[in-house]
Symmetry: C2
Amino acid sequence: MDAKCPHNTEVNCGDCRMNALCLPLALQTKEISQLDEIVQRGRPLQKEGHIYHAGEEFKSVFAVRSGSVKSYTVTNEGQEQVTGFHLPGEIFGMDGIAHNHYTNSAIAMETAAVCEIPFSNLQELSIAIPSLQRHFFQLMSKEITNDQSLITLLSKNTAEERVATLLLSISNRNLRRKLSGVRFRLPMSRADIGNYLGLTVETVSRVFGRFQKQDILLVDKKEIEILNIDQLRNLAN
Amino acid sequence: MDAKCPHNTEVNCGDCRMNALCLPLALQTKEISQLDEIVQRGRPLQKEGHIYHAGEEFKSVFAVRSGSVKSYTVTNEGQEQVTGFHLPGEIFGMDGIAHNHYTNSAIAMETAAVCEIPFSNLQELSIAIPSLQRHFFQLMSKEITNDQSLITLLSKNTAEERVATLLLSISNRNLRRKLSGVRFRLPMSRADIGNYLGLTVETVSRVFGRFQKQDILLVDKKEIEILNIDQLRNLAN
DNA sequence: CGGCGTTATTGATCTAGGTCATCTGAAGTA
DNA sequence: TACTTCAGATGACCTAGATCAATAACGCCG
């Protein structure tokens, strides 16, 4: 397998293009190789392939290496609730720590590759490398603040504000990966967007329509171009 | 100050009635006294007294000893968003870890006492006591799963389902403290309930009204008696 | 005790977004 | 190439809960 292939499973953490995003900055070379030993690089996942199912025993947290992943739960009435979208360089699976079982399921939204980090090893290593412990406390805290902004979004904002906010979030996360913040492909369906934002597909579709009519966006199926990011920011507020 | 006084600040962790809730079960007597040394027991807070403000430098997490506390953020439009209610034995303030500044403000909803746990000391101690590290990972993960159920509640459930779910949550948390799960006093106002659940005060009031008419609840201002907990569970689903 | 601000209740109306139904087009497949 | 499927867009209508407005009931303080 070619080292440049984005789904390559053979690379180690030190060489991975994503390491600036998922590892603590302060890590020494020696420490990186310690981490490398516990990280398991899984083979590429097909679209719709599960990384884990809700209820399974919690063993590991995961980092997205390529592609994209969504987390979701199923309510007692059987409806799906999307709880997060995970792009390359992002960590997911930390919801499982509390009860020793995953509360979410995680599924690839397109062809993807993930790194598996066994949590018991990570705990031990965190004791040897305090900056790693700190890093994981921070990652979990960030997840908490993210979830809380979603709570605020859902309880206070209109459909347009919610969609605008999601687009800006994806734009920012693309920038972090040195990709374009104004032209990108949405990895998720309209249904997933609606589900995540507490809206119906129809409403999402209509909001995209309105944004196009106002020359804020150019939408071609999943390809998005942000034409007026300032106005989008205004709308998101 | 009398040792039996609920707002007493002189007690240590080993004697505290709440220790089964906020400390890891596995802690040894010696370890408890190590923890005791870093925990600072603050003096009682007046109603509306702030524990910290959003934006302040993050230094500590806190445990509720008595009374009750609410966390909230203020949106860019200046509206308050309640992000959590904290009852005795519960830990709060973990949102601050991510950015080294609190993202929420925390305020006493009634006379309350809190224990302050300086986070840098806690991190060090977590390295010496692995079960403490594990415990805090779990606490943070629990916060994540709680926030995610709130997200689901807000995006999928009706006003009645939301109110029923909150009442059952408070009921369960009272049971954990060996208090009645069916008769209790709500520490928060209708406005706080509405804000937390993404509803207006009027809607909350009407839902309470309907629940009373159906003989599910007996409501007298903030005093609640659950008359039919099974039906409440059905409604919450 | 009486006046006043705050919190809760209740009623009347309005609206954002849900529901339902139809239509289009792209992608897969036989 | 024709057939099916599924994601997305769009239009017509409806409803849960918001908004606005009035009233009641409670502390709280001089």
